[in-house]
Symmetry: C2
Subunit: 215 residues, 2 copies
């Protein structure tokens, strides 16, 4: 990494910039579509017509490289929206991770459901820009720490929360291998920063320390 020392200092506000998503009113009036785990929601080539709001469950959005490697662009949890893309057709895959309920809102009728498409697009842009920093400038320990804090914040801010996704999903999101993810979690655990209640259930023991590491 280029650790050239620049003069300007990052503000707290910037550091606190969340990885999360806009919270918009869920369109309860629309029918709830339910999906089993690991079910495709959309795929490249399909027309991008809808905005999807997660009622419950979790979704991964990703792309595949020509050599078969996978890049997870984003996870979407309850209360969050996804599905917007730059062109008329999808370039990305979206799949449920666990059993999931979605409200499907046609993009051209979004305003009727109080959805601000521009705000959603801007949030997605900011989120992607944050992700660049995450994968390009942080060490493995910093990435995992930031990721755990982000997951905690997006699930109510409690120190005790679920990781809906597998280690492989995390690895492909954070640009690490599953081995490194596993090793870093073990390291954070033995340092007393977190506890692994079960394989996909985390308790953050020392949030401040984790936050310091994640910067």
């Amino acid at each position: 990494m280029s650790a050239v020392a620049y003069k300007k200092i990052m503000t707290n506000q910037q550091q606190a910039a969340a990885f999360g998503e806009v919270v918009v009113p869920l369109s309860k009036s629309l029918p709830l579509a339910t999906f089993a785990a690991s079910t495709e929601i959309f795929a490249p080539g399909q027309a991008a017509l809808n905005i999807y709001q997660v009622e419950f469950g979790a979704v991964r959005v990703y792309r595949l490289l020509s050599d078969g490697r996978r890049q997870v662009i984003a996870f979407h949890l309850a209360g969050e929206s996804f599905g917007l893309e730059a062109g008329a057709t999808h370039q990305l895959f979206a799949e449920t991770i666990i059993p999931t309920g979605l409200r499907i809102v046609p993009t051209d009728g979004a305003s009727r459901h109080q959805i601000d498409v521009t705000a959603l697009a801007l949030q997605a842009m900011a989120s992607a820009q944050n992700h660049i920093m995450l994968v390009s400038r942080l060490t493995a320990v910093e990435r995992i720490s930031a990721f755990l804090l982000d997951m905690a914040n997006r699930q109510g801010g409690l120190n005790h929360f679920d990781l809906p996704m597998s280690r492989l999903d995390m690895a492909d999101y954070l640009d690490l291998t599953i081995e490194t993810v596993s090793r870093v979690l073990a390291k954070l655990r033995s340092a007393g920063l977190i506890r692994l209640r079960s394989i996909r259930r985390i308790e953050i023991m020392r949030p401040e320390d984790l936050h310091n590491i994640s910067a």
Copy 2:
């Protein structure tokens, strides 16, 4: 890198997804603001009120980490637009790289100038997603090759073009050190793929080979 072999294959369309920007009609009716090299256009904390269209010159948009590391989010060349952010205030820095002329369009009056803010945001999102792949999944040689091809395409597609930015700017954009940038350029030169007419002027000798490397 997680090189797990997934089954789905990336389409050519996806691979060809450009790193470039939307081309919107320039608002020639607005006054042209000119800036010297290395001049701040906006900084974190300032109100985000405008969209900036580059008439000539080049701009870097970046953020700083608390420890002084810099992440260049994007470069903007003649004909491109920037300045959109998710909140009411800027989180990012924008600076000219070389002497630059800008048309400054108030966001709230963008539609009068035929600017689609949502489309601009979605393009920025797609560009950031491409950037994630660039910095997280490609080797140093692949990143530089992709970057050079992108720069060539965005300046008319000629094989002979200017790099307006310094090696440090390139390094902070590609998530490499200046030493690695320098070494890779030397390697591409000695392999006969490019020529360095001057320190910031590149000629691509074998575009196809460079393209093959960049994937």
